[in-house]
């Protein structure tokens, strides 16, 4: 009869100890990871350059041209003007002026 399985607590949570893998060369999966990483970074750079994002993150990418993005949410400016930005009242609201 087989004995009880070894206590995994003495090894690690997958039953694999940290003392393995003493081969001197870089494993293939690390090389594949590296290649994928380089390709992803290049793709991001190309997308940023083509998309005209200027390589930056953050709200400045979304601000209209000529306006600097606000440094905080509280600085967001509401469009000013007394014409309600060309908005019309909802269709359900009666127009008293015409009566």
């Amino acid at each position: 009869m087989a004995g009880p399985p070894p206590n995994r607590d003495t090894v690690d949570d997958t039953g694999v100890g940290p003392d393995r893998g003493s081969t001197t060369s870089t494993p293939r999966w690390v090389k594949v990871f590296g290649i994928i990483g380089i390709v992803v970074v290049l793709l991001i750079v190309v997308v940023m350059l083509v998309g005209g994002g200027g390589g930056g993150h953050g709200p400045s990418r979304h601000a209209p041209s000529g306006n600097a993005a606000p440094s905080s949410v509280t600085e967001v400016q509401v469009p000013s003007g007394g014409e309600l930005g060309g908005h019309t009242p909802p269709s359900g609201v009666p127009d008293h002026g015409s009566q």
Binding site: D12, P18, R20, T26, W29, G58, P70, V73, V78, P79
Partner: protein, 187 residues
């Protein structure tokens, strides 16, 4: 300094909770993005941006830092180390990268949440346009987190040069200790 098995188990539970919680919070964020994209209702769009900001700052960011911190404790408190194995090193680099992009993207989310809170219907198009970036960020972020999770579960073989040096030194030291014990026991 290595942790005792009991402490290590506890630290692992805490680390797993934060890490899986991070993934869950990103999924919740993605759900809000999908809800906003699929709805034509402007109120839903504004509510989604406000909720995304809350989920980001109050769930994703704290969980991300907690996951990084507990991960550091786990690696430094066990024989795995921080720079000895490729899977630990790559997990660390990916986590730091993910947190960097997350913090940067949260500025954008806060900006749009601010726009959404201003209740000006002229901004609805801008709010809708911003969802594309969030889908990309959250989607890629989730992918990176899943890659880290797979690395952490499978722990693929491979030691860094630093790890190999450390291992050789440890073996040499243990061999030296053995020889000293033998010479002491045989006068």
């Amino acid at each position: 300094m290595t942790m005792s098995p009991r402490v290590r188990k506890f630290a692992l539970i805490v680390h797993l909770t934060f890490s899986v919680g991070w993934i869950g919070a990103v999924v919740a964020f993605l759900a809000l993005v999908f809800a906003a994209r699929s709805s034509q209702d402007e109120q839903t769009l504004r509510a989604a941006w406000l909720a995304m900001e809350s989920v980001g700052w109050f769930a994703i960011v704290p969980l991300a830092f907690a996951s990084l911190l507990t991960g550091l404790v786990m690696s430094l408190g066990t024989k795995w180390g921080l720079f000895r194995h490729y899977w630990v090193l790559i997990s660390l680099v990916l986590t730091i990268l993910a947190i960097g992009v997350l913090l940067s993207n949260m500025q954008t989310v806060s900006f749009f949440a601010g726009v959404a809170a201003e209740m000006d219907s002229a901004d609805a198009g801008e709010l809708r346009g911003g969802l594309q970036g969030e889908l990309l960020h959250a989607g890629l972020g989730l992918l990176v987190l899943l890659v880290i999770q797979v690395l952490n579960v499978y722990k693929p073989q491979g030691m860094t040069r630093y790890g190999q040096r450390k291992q050789r030194r440890a073996r040499r030291r243990s061999k030296h200790d053995e020889q000293r014990e033998v010479s002491v026991s045989q006068p």
